[in-house]
């Protein structure tokens, strides 16, 4: 039992350890790097939570990547046309939600293979975004650069200036925590919210039950189909926010294939997190940190060996394989995951 607690605390301890060591070795770039890690974490966290809702309800979703990409495109397009980041966000959510419902239709209503449906969604998004991009803007698949209110601006949290003089806490608050786009805070707030929804509400109880043993929900007189559709829709909304953040927060516009595998890293983080909300936060923070280190030090010289940035970028996957192999406690997916629900006979 004690060991289990330690295993659960492993990711936060690793994250904290990396931060401390970084701050001690190279304090000037550490602050900047951690700041960037938070931004890089945001789309991963949102996508990871999106996957969490879907997979906890028993619908595996490898289409996170495609949904994010579609959302990034629709968000950037609408933001470019209306010059409003908020309308862009809505469009992003709409784009991802549409793909989510296609996934739901294929895998819930028609009981198709969830992996194949997910792959199809990834291909669809990859092709459709470029095609529509060329058709609308004629910029080779890009959208025009977003400026001003077309992007989510960084907001300064209250007292950031006043507190900046206080040692240790001051700079952390003013530089690290303050000064991000609103979507970063939304993503972080989604973590306790998700935990509360899953474990403290009727909706969450049924959602988890549908992913573990849909027959138990069905015999209790609750619709499995409806429950799964709602979960898949929430997944779409969160993917939409993630994609909108990519195109209108992290960058200034859409570039083709801009998600660059983030949907898959989010899936890896989900396994890393063992399908738990707080785990998702720390797993994506860890992966964000690794990406940030790779960005800050293209060739990390540890004295005896030089680590290329490619290795850092590959680390999330390597870590996930280690987790899957069961070295750090077993990651048990929801039992009914991946299987369409069919009543006996």
């Amino acid at each position: 039992m004690k060991l289990d607690v330690l295993k659960d605390a492993l990711t936060p301890i690793i994250v904290l350890g990396i931060c401390l060591i970084w701050a001690l070795i190279d304090s000037s770039r550490a602050m900047q790097g951690m700041d960037s890690a938070l931004r890089l974490m945001t789309p991963l966290l949102l996508a990871c939570l999106a996957g969490l809702y879907s997979e906890r309800a028993g619908v595996f979703d490898i289409g996170l990547e495609g949904k994010m990409l579609m959302a990034a495109f629709t968000a950037a397009t609408v933001a470019a046309l209306t010059n409003s980041a908020w309308l862009g966000l809505l469009a992003g959510i709409g784009g991802a939600l549409t793909l989510s419902l296609i996934h739901g239709l294929a895998s819930i209503t028609f009981r198709g293979n969830q992996l194949i449906s997910g792959v199809a969604i990834n291909f669809l998004a990859s092709g459709l975004t470029v095609l529509l991009g060329i058709k609308i803007f004629g910029l080779g698949g890009r959208t025009p650069s977003l400026q001003g209110s077309g992007r989510f601006q960084e907001i300064t949290l209250p007292f950031a200036d006043a507190l900046s003089g206080v040692p240790v806490i001051g700079p952390i608050y003013a530089q690290l925590i303050s000064g991000h786009s609103i979507l970063v805070y939304v993503a972080v707030l989604c973590v306790p919210l998700t935990w509360w929804v899953l474990f403290r509400t009727r909706f969450g109880l049924r959602l988890r039950a549908v992913g573990e043993n849909p027959a138990s929900v069905d015999t209790a007189g609750v619709s499995v189909t409806r429950q799964r559709y709602v979960a898949v829709a929430i997944c779409g909304v969160l993917c939409g926010i993630a994609g909108a953040y990519l195109a209108t927060g992290l960058s200034a516009g859409f570039v083709k294939e801009m998600t660059a595998g983030r949907g898959f890293i989010a899936l890896a983080a989900l396994i890393f997190a063992k399908w738990r909300p707080w785990g998702a936060l720390f797993a994506t923070l860890l992966f964000g940190l690794l990406e940030s280190i790779a960005n800050q030090y293209p060739n990390l010289d540890l004295g005896f060996v030089t680590i290329p940035s490619m290795f850092m970028n590959a680390l999330p996957y390597i870590l996930t394989v280690i987790i899957l192999a069961g070295f750090v406690g077993r990651a048990i997916p929801p039992r009914a995951g991946g299987e369409p629900y069919v009543k006996e006979r």
Binding site: R200, R202, R206, A209, E212, V217, T219, A220, G221, E344
Partner: protein, 549 residues
């Protein structure tokens, strides 16, 4: 069947509305008529048994009652009121609770979470959980249904999991409780405790429907009993006014006696010697409890019994594919050589190589791949045979030619080897499987339910082939729930009950009545005297403590 008012325990008189009344319920799944014009009346405050073999349609009927399936026709009345049950929610609201054979519990949820699932009081869990905790404490006191509400299901024993299912129904204020094969996964002690709980519930005025294929349970606990056979309700009687033998006969049914022409057996040396074979399935239930039997060359040993008494496990174990996770002990010798019961040489391929052919009980699941063609199906299990291969490639032309020969000799219709197995009728599918196994000329043929769902013409044909194999000096182990088939085909009959061989008889020196008694688990020690003409070690007349009704 009207209930009598003079019975004990506050039984309501016949004029009161029945707790449940079914009128003319029918349900078909495609061509399979699962329920045919079912009429049933369950009195309030009684335990009503529904007995029948696997596949008799009991579970389908109860699923209709619980809103899982919609009946094609017929009327359901609950408490005298007609009710259309379209989904489980309707059934729950009408006060019907169901304990499924395979529990519908979420393994990693706590008992409390499972109880409130679907019956929460509001959008937040906290108040529902608190209320359920209180109700649970009350129910535990009332009915001896003690379960730790904070344990997760996976930490509980099977017996306790079942209690959670019962509690779930009671929490939803069920007045009518349906239990589907509740003792299948329980130890005898757990089953006894369950019966005490059920008696307590009846004393509180609840109505209980107990679905089972175990006669002992029916005799022990029910007030009334209805018998189902092949989708039909064949009888409803007061339990006190019937006997296990009568029920066994009703369950198994009597068909027109099939005539199989055969000469007396000329048994040779023992082909298969089974000693003290035991099997504990992954749920921890002992399915085989020390089976010993011999089959000699040139004889057919028939195993009779109500299905679900270990015959399936025996066939699967001998065939080389016991359910994964089963624990096996004992010894099996084939032609004098020990067969591995565990490890890599205990698989079906090795068994086939040692000369054991197997026609499995369920041809559509274990015997054939339904979407593959007849000629492909003919090769399965023997696809490594040299005549089917050319170097390291399969010789499809040779397989096809061989299959066409078999199809012709076994009169499979239509005689088209390219047709998918799915497109043949049940009888012709069975002929394909039988042809594949018999034409390999095995020293021992295991054959389970050879004529289940097979038309009369094919039955005769298959029976003839089995006798021919015997006459060629081979051994046959025949498992069937059709008593007439066993009696007309076998040279010796062993009766299985609850994982044991209750006794062996010669078909010419026994009666269906005597076999029915053995199938019900009743051994009359006087009757079991030496009338089989077999050496003493062939007899396994076990009288179990507590098995006598």
């Amino acid at each position: 069947m009207a209930a009598a008012s003079q019975n004990s325990e506050g039984r309501p008189d016949a004029a009161a509305p029945a707790a449940i009344e079914l009128r003319g319920i029918s349900k078909a799944f495609g061509p399979v008529q699962a329920n045919k014009n079912i009429n049933l009346r369950v009195e309030k405050g009684t335990i009503h048994g529904i007995i029948g073999e696997n596949g008799a349609g009991k579970s389908t009927l109860m699923s209709i009652l619980y809103g899982f399936y919609k009946p094609d026709s017929g009327e359901i009345r609950v408490g005298g009121q007609p009710l259309t049950i379209t989904d489980s929610q309707t059934a729950i609201r009408a006060g019907i609770g169901m304990v499924f054979q395979h529990f519908k519990l979420v393994q990693n949820f706590t008992v409390l979470e499972n109880i409130i699932l679907g019956a929460e009081d509001g959008p937040l869990l906290r108040p529902s959980l608190a209320k359920a905790r209180g109700v649970l404490r009350q129910l535990a006191e009332e009915y001896q249904l003690n379960v730790d509400p904070d344990m997760t299901i996976e930490e509980l024993s099977v017996g306790h999991q079942q209690r959670v299912e019962i509690l779930k129904a009671l929490y939803r204020q069920a007045d009518i409780l349906i239990l589907d094969e509740p003792t299948g996964v329980l130890t005898p002690a757990e089953a006894d405790h369950l019966f005490r709980i059920l008696e307590g519930l009846r004393a509180e005025g609840k109505t209980i429907i107990l679905i089972t294929h175990k006669l002992r349970e029916i005799m022990e606990i029910t007030d009334n009993v209805s018998v189902m056979r092949r989708g039909e309700m064949v009888a409803s009687v007061r339990t006190a006014e019937t006997t296990p033998e009568e029920l066994a006969e009703l369950m198994v049914g009597r068909k027109v006696l099939l005539n199989v022409e055969k000469t007396p057996a000329q048994p040779g040396a023992a082909i298969l010697e089974v000693r003290n074979l035991r099997l504990v399935d992954p749920d921890g239930v002992e399915r085989l409890r020390g089976i010993s039997l011999d089959i000699r060359a040139g004889e057919i040993l028939g195993i009779a019994g109500v299905s679900g008494n270990g015959q399936t496990q025996l066939l699967e174990l001998l065939g080389g594919y016991p359910e994964k996770g089963s624990k096996v002990s004992g010894s099996v010798r084939m032609n004098g050589q020990e067969l591995d019961l565990t490890g890599r040489y205990s698989d079906a391929a090795t068994r086939r190589a040692r000369g054991i052919g197997h026609v499995p009980e369920d041809r559509q699941v274990e015997g054939l791949i339904m979407d593959f063609t007849a000629w492909e199906n003919v090769a399965f299990g023997y696809h490594h045979a040299p005549e089917y291969n050319k170097g390291w490639l399969m010789d499809n032309a040779a397989i096809r030619a061989d299959a066409e020969g078999k199809i012709e000799r076994f009169d499979v219709r239509p005689p088209n080897a390219n047709l998918a197995a799915r497109n043949f009728s049940g009888g012709n599918q069975q002929k394909i499987v039988v042809a594949r196994e018999i034409e390999r000329n095995p020293d021992l043929l295991l054959i389970g339910q050879p004529t289940r769902g097979v038309d009369i013409g094919a039955i005769e044909f298959i029976h003839k082939r089995i006798v021919e194999l015997r006459d060629a000096g081979k051994a046959v182990l025949l498992v069937s729930v059709e008593l007439d088939e066993i009696l007309s085909l076998s040279d010796r009959v062993a009766v299985m009950f609850d994982g044991r061989i209750m006794g062996e008889r010669l078909p010419s020196q026994t009666t269906t009545g005597e076999l029915g008694l053995l199938m019900a688990g009743i051994t009359d020690t006087e009757n079991a005297a030496d009338n089989t003409g077999l050496p003493p070690d062939h007899k396994h007349v076990a009288t179990l403590p507590g098995e006598q009704p």
